[in-house]
């Protein structure tokens, strides 16, 4: 579809793109600017696109009303552990399913793939019971163990398998002739080559864990254990009405760091996801 366009067509296209960009950009803009407005200005009419005297009161209150720093750390460490764990589990399994021949391989692969058909929402009731019996409700274990080993990691294993299948076999054969064992071949030859796929898996997994909402509200009950998505909904006044300025401040602090990382590394993000992950 890439053809040279006339100047007029280009102008029209830019116009269309600009209008279409509004619903993608305006919410983030509104979130940040509202967090800096005094409460009286938040619902002012006509709406103020820029805060007249920006103030940071709301940011201070976020930390007064909730153990927000702790909650931030909870989300961050859970997401990091889940990301690293998923990368390890899915790279090993994906590699074995793609490049090692062993008996029962296809059947076992189908058993694993079942996870793609069974969303975690289907199994939330028995998972809750399992962790309840183990005394692990209101701990972070369910939010760590299930994503690393359960259904969410299956997609990662699938992506890694598709990638390892496409690797040329000669490199590995040379390594094997040199007397490298399976693990060494995997660790030193195959894994370094799989960086793009592994990157896509890391991004997917981090975002998935960072966004998790149903599981935290089912498993966690004390505020100092909460993760960010759960904490964000807790900034309400005595009547259950949302404290908008505080919510927007907390939401900004949750969203902006990831957005900044994304803008810096957007090429890797977008192209990694598009070209490795889901094309198989």
């Amino acid at each position: 579809m890439s053809r040279d366009l006339s100047r007029r067509t280009k102008l029209v296209l830019y116009g269309v793109l600009l209008v279409l960009a509004i619903p993608f950009v305006f919410p983030t803009w509104w979130m940040v600017t509202s967090s800096l407005k005094p409460v009286a200005d938040i619902f002012a009419f006509p709406p103020k696109l820029l805060p007249t005297n920006p103030r940071f009161d709301a940011y201070q209150r976020v930390f007064e009303l909730q153990p927000f720093g702790q909650q931030y750390l909870n989300s961050l460490y859970i997401a990091l552990v889940v990301t690293v764990g998923t990368m390890a589990v899915s790279a090993l399994a994906g590699y074995a399913f793609a490049r090692i021949r062993f008996r029962g391989q296809n059947v076992l692969f189908l058993v694993v793939l079942a996870g793609l058909l069974i969303p975690s929402e289907v199994t939330i009731v028995p998972l809750f019971q399992m962790f309840f019996k183990l005394g692990l409700v209101n701990t972070h274990w369910p939010l760590i163990l299930v994503p690393i080993f359960g259904a969410p990691s299956v997609l990662a294993t699938f992506i890694m398998r598709q990638f390892f299948i496409s690797l040329p076999g000669e490199l590995e054969e040379a390594a094997r002739v040199d007397g490298l064992g399976r693990f060494a071949t995997f660790w030193r030859i195959a894994l370094p080559l799989s960086r793009p796929a592994l990157g896509a898996v890391a991004i997917f997994t981090f975002l998935h864990s960072w966004n998790l909402y149903l599981e935290p509200i089912v498993f966690l009950s004390s505020p100092e254990k909460f993760t960010l998505p759960q904490a964000l909904t807790q900034f309400v006044d005595a009547y259950g009405g949302p404290m908008w300025d505080v919510q927007m401040a907390a939401a900004s602090m949750t969203a902006l760091p990831v957005l900044v990382v994304f803008v810096i590394a957007q090429k890797q993000f977008v192209e990694g996801l598009a070209h490795t992950g889901l094309k198989g």
């Binding site: 579809m1 979130m31 709406p47 069974i118 289907v122 359960g150 975002l207 909402y213 909904t233 927007m248």
Partner: protein, 315 residues
């Protein structure tokens, strides 16, 4: 690793005198490596996917009262209750509306954005970044901000007011609540499908369009006759991901509407959550899980069947 293997090999060869072939041949060792490599994922799937699925079926045959501590086998009573549940029709309707609305709007907009970004224009990367950015914004943060914008006196109605339009109370009206929830979700994740479509469009060879141009085919005709068939594998893939994803919607409903007004946005997962974790009807919650599983399974099978008929070619 190699050292351990040698030791085990010589131990196994111990009783047989003479130069017997070691038990741990390189092929056997390789097989063992295969099992060890898949072990974490396989055990995880069994414990956290297969076993819970069996348990969900088992629970659905029981009346389970957590407060009284009773767990009684009741056969198909939960399924009879399901058939008699006055809310079920509304829940399935909301689930269907949400999924259809989301898939149509998401795929349509994703394709439109991808086609626009695939033109020879400066700065398309900037727009690509903008359209993709909500994907990396925390889902609940994104939803809360939209909830704020969609208040009766919120930003959207404020903007509408300035051009003289009196906007509705989006999240409190029967029809507008569902539309709002769908639209919020579309803008959140459309960037993902857009990027997949863009990659597919870039794989369509330019000569095809040149040839069509020579034949005098219009742009529209080229799009439907060349572009769509050639990217149909991606259309199928994105539609599977989007449909299954749409059935899992929970946070948006929980934050924006709590299933209301009435039951107009009570989708299946939200209803399941209410029954199991708010009303503590675990047996009935398990029964609803089975319904969800059946729907996901049926849709996936259906889509794979469609692949055979509609998808132009497979790479």
């Amino acid at each position: 690793m190699t050292q351990t293997d040698t030791r085990v090999g010589s131990a196994a060869a111990g009783p047989t005198p003479g130069p017997a072939r070691p038990f741990w041949t390189s092929r056997r060792r390789d097989q063992l490596a295969g099992y060890v490599f898949i072990a974490p994922q396989l055990l995880g799937s069994v414990v956290f996917v297969i076993l819970p699925l069996i348990l969900v079926l088992w629970y659905s045959l029981h009346e389970w009262n957590v407060l009284a501590g009773t767990f009684d086998f009741v056969g198909t009573d939960n399924y009879k209750a399901l058939a008699d549940d006055p809310n079920l029709g509304a829940v399935l309707r909301a689930t269907g509306l949400f999924s259809v609305g989301l898939v149509v709007l998401n795929l349509g907009l994703a394709l439109l954005l991808a086609v626009l970004l695939n033109q020879r224009l400066r700065g398309t990367i900037v727009f690509r970044t903008l359209f993709f950015s909500p994907v990396v914004v925390s889902l609940v943060a994104w939803t809360i901000v939209w909830g704020f914008l969609l208040q009766d006196n919120g930003g959207i109605n404020g903007l509408l007011d300035t051009i003289g339009v009196d906007g509705p109370n989006w999240l409190r009206g029967e029809g507008t609540a569902m539309v709002s929830v769908i639209v919020v979700q579309v803008f959140k994740n459309v960037g993902l499908n857009m990027v997949l479509f863009l990659a597919a469009l870039q794989g369509v060879p330019g000569e095809l369009y040149e040839a069509a141009e020579v034949d005098g085919a219009s742009r529209m005709r080229q799009f439907w006759r060349i572009t769509v068939p050639l990217i149909s594998p991606t259309i199928l893939l994105t539609s599977i991901i989007t449909v299954v994803g749409s059935l899992q919607v929970f946070a948006q409903i929980s934050v924006l509407t709590q299933g209301g007004p009435g039951t107009s946005t009570t989708v299946l997962v939200y209803y399941l959550y209410q029954q199991a974790f708010q009303f503590h009807h675990f047996g009935y919650g398990a029964t609803l899980s089975i319904v969800l599983f059946a729907i996901v399974l049926a849709l996936t099978v259906l889509q794979w069947q469609m692949r055979k008929r509609w998808v132009f070619h497979e790479s």
